[in-house]
Subunit: 344 residues, 2 copies
DNA sequence: ATTTTGCGTGTAATCGATTACAAGGCCAAA
DNA sequence: TTTGGCCTTGTAATCGATTACACGCAAAAT
C-alpha cells in the first residue's frame, strides 16, 4: 500500500531525527548548514509535503479562515473576496468561502464554521445572520476571532470594516438636489438589512436638509437584485405622481431600473435620473453610464483581512477584553451619464 | 488556561470511554440507547465540537476540496461555485476557493492545494494552468482526484464537465445566418484558451457550411472582459469594411461591445447584431436584451462536484486505471433583442 | 588542565480522534 | 450447570508533526 512520505521518511533519508526535519522546515536558522542541506535534499528526493492535519493538531490551529457571505453569485462580493484572498494567501492561510443562504432565502444558515475546530478566524459579510447563532457557541475565549465587513450585526460587538452608508446616500441625494431635482424617490435594499436602513436614513436626512421628504409611495421596495430594480421601474412608471429621480440602493437595482425604463420607452437621464450604489464594473460600461457611489471593494476586503490577522495574533483573553475597532473607508460619487437636471 | 472540550471531557462527563463517544458520533447504532443518550447529553453540556484536525489526521483525509479558478471577480464563475458549494456542503465537505491569478496575469500560480496533504479533491476551472504543475506532484496514486469543469487542459487526462463550445458557437452563427447576415465577425476570447479556440473554430465551421469565412480583420482580439468588448467595438467602428453582426465569446464582451457601440451612436440591433455567450443574469436585463448562448452554470458546478465525489470514493489505484468520463451538458440559444436582420 | 558556555541534535511526550482487538456480561441452548 | 454466541464497552495503538528537555561535544574562559 502506497503511502505519502512522512517526516520519518525524510528523517531516515537525511540520516537525522524527525525533530531536526521539523526544525529545518519551520526554523531553518537553528540547524547547521550541512544538516539543512541534507534535509532539503531528502525532502526533494522523497517528494515530502507536510501533512497539514498533523501540523494543525499539534499546533492547535487550522491554518484557515472562513468568509461568510449571503450570496456568492452577487458580483458585489467578488472583488471583496479577491482582496481578502490576496492578504490571506500572503499570510499563508487558506480561505473557505461559505454561502449562508444556499437553500432558503430567509433562514440564513449558520455553518459549523463558527467553531474553533474548523477555522482560526471568520470574516462575516452577512448582516442577516441570526446573531444568537454567532454568540451561542461556547465561551467567547473559545470562539474564533471575527470581523465584519460591509455589513454587520448590531448586537454583536466585533471589529468592522465598512463605509459610511448614511453619508454616502446623503451625497447621492445632494447630487440630485444640486441638479435641481425636488421629487426624488428611493429604490430600497432588502428590509431589515443594515445597509438598506442606513442608506434610506441617509437619503431621508439629505432630503430633510433641503426641506423635502420621501413619501412612502416613492420608497420602492427591493432586495439589491436586478429584478427588483426592474420591478421598481414598473412601480415608478405606473404611479400617477412620480419622482424625477431615483436613488437606488445598489448598482444592480439601478441597472435593472434603467433597463426596464428604457424598454418602456423612457429616456434616461432625460426623463428620469438614476443613481446607483457600489460601482460595479458594469456601471461604467452601461449606456447611459451609471452615476453611482464608488465603493473601494478590494480595499474593504484587504482591510478586513488585515484586521482579522491582527486579532488572530491576540491572546484570547486579551481579544475579548480589547475594544472592537471600526474602520470606515471613504467612498466617492462617480458622476456619469445617468443623471441630469429634471425635465422641463 | 481555557481549552476547548475534547472527546475526553465528554467521555468523563458521560461516564464512558472515549471510544464509546467516538462510536456514538460516527455510528450511533452500535451503542446502547442508554449510553447514546448519556453521551449526547454530555456533548450538549460540555459544548463539545469534534476537532477536525485530529479526525483528519486519524482518518487520513482532510474533509475539504479546492476549486481553482482564474478569477473570482468574474461573474461567470459565481453560479458555478454555488452549484459546487451546494453539492459539497450536502456531502459535508468544505470548499476552498482559490484564485490562480491573484498577482500576475500570465503565470498561473499553482498553489500547494494540488497536494494530498491539503485537500481530498480538486475542481479546476482554469485551463491556463501549467499542466506540468498539475502532473509533477509525485506518483499519480498520491495526487488527489481532480475533475475539470468548463475549461480543461488537453495534456491532462481527467474527468471533465463541459459544454460543447464548438457546437454552441456554430449555433450562434447559424442564428445570424438565418437572419440574413453574410458578413459576420467574432470578438475572440483570450488567445490560447481552450474555450476561445473551440468557439472560434465552431464559428468558422458554421460560416464555412454557408460558404463564408471569417477574415482575420473581423476576428477581434479580446479576453472575455467588458473592456475588451468595448475595444472590439472601437475596432469594428474604425474599420472601413465592417461586418453586420458580431458573435462575442462572452456576455461581458457582448455587453461591452454594445455599450461602446451605443455610446458612438450606433443602433443595436438595427446597425449591428450582437450575440453573446454565457447568459449572465445581466444579459436579459440589458437594453437591448442580449441574444446569447445559455450555459447551465449551476448544473455544471453540481455535475462537477458530483463527479468529484464519485472519484473520491474510488481506491487510488482504481482511479488511476479507470478512464476519465466526459460529461457534456446541453446549451440553448436565448434569442432576445440584440439580433435582427442586417441593415438595408 | 579544568570549567563554562553554547550550539546542534536526539528522545520522547503530546495534540485529539479513531478503531482493531479483547474482554465482560447476559441469555439461551445443551 | 456449563458452553457458546451476541451485544456492548474498554484498552491501547495509531495517525504525523511539534517541541520541551536533556545530552554531547567543541570552543572559550579561567
Amino acid at each position: 500500500m502506497l503511502r505519502a512520505p512522512s517526516i520519518r521518511d525524510v528523517a531516515q533519508a537525511a540520516g537525522v531525527s524527525t525533530a531536526t526535519v521539523s526544525r529545518t522546515l519551520t526554523n531553518p536558522d537553528v540547524v547547521s548548514e550541512i544538516t539543512r542541506e541534507a534535509v532539503f535534499r531528502a525532502i526533494r528526493e522523497t517528494g515530502y509535503v507536510v501533512n497539514q492535519a498533523a501540523r494543525n493538531l499539534r499546533r492547535r490551529e487550522t491554518g484557515a479562515v472562513a468568509v461568510l457571505l449571503p450570496n456568492i453569485a452577487n458580483p458585489f462580493f467578488s472583488r471583496i473576496l479577491s482582496g481578502i484572498a490576496e492578504v490571506m494567501s500572503e499570510a499563508g492561510l487558506n480561505v473557505f468561502i461559505n454561502d449562508t443562504t444556499p437553500v432558503t432565502r430567509d433562514e440564513h444558515r449558520f455553518p459549523e464554521y463558527a467553531s474553533h475546530a474548523h477555522v482560526d478566524g471568520l470574516i462575516v459579510l452577512d448582516g442577516m445572520l441570526r446573531h444568537d447563532a454567532l454568540l451561542d457557541r461556547g465561551p467567547p475565549e473559545l470562539r474564533p476571532p471575527l470581523v465584519f465587513a460591509c455589513e454587520w450585526i448590531e448586537q454583536v460587538a466585533r471589529p468592522k470594516v465598512t463605509i459610511d452608508n448614511h453619508a454616502a446616500a446623503a451625497q447621492a441625494i445632494r447630487h440630485l438636489l444640486a441638479l435641481g431635482h425636488r421629487r426624488i424617490g428611493h429604490a430600497c435594499g432588502p428590509p431589515g438589512n443594515v445597509l438598506s436602513i442606513a442608506r434610506l436614513a441617509g437619503a431621508r436626512a439629505a432630503l430633510a436638509e433641503a426641506g423635502l421628504s420621501l413619501p412612502d409611495a416613492w420608497a420602492f421596495p427591493g432586495d439589491f437584485s436586478l429584478e427588483s430594480g426592474a420591478a421598481a421601474a414598473r412601480a415608478w412608471h405606473a404611479a400617477a405622481d412620480r419622482p424625477t429621480a431615483v436613488f437606488c440602493a445598489s448598482d444592480e437595482m439601478a441597472l435593472g431600473f434603467i433597463g426596464e425604463a428604457q424598454r418602456r420607452g423612457i429616456k434616461v437621464p432625460d426623463e428620469i435620473s438614476v443613481v446607483g450604489f457600489d460601482d460595479l464594473e458594469m456601471a461604467s460600461h452601461a449606456v447611459p453610464a451609471l452615476t453611482t457611489i464608488h465603493q473601494p471593494r478590494a480595499d474593504i476586503g484587504r482591510a478586513a483581512a488585515r484586521m482579522l490577522l491582527e486579532r488572530m495574533l491576540l491572546a484570547p483573553a486579551e481579544r475579548v477584553a480589547r475594544p472592537a475597532p471600526h474602520v470606515v473607508l471613504p467612498v466617492t460619487l462617480a458622476v456619469r451619464e445617468s443623471t441630469a437636471p429634471p425635465p422641463r
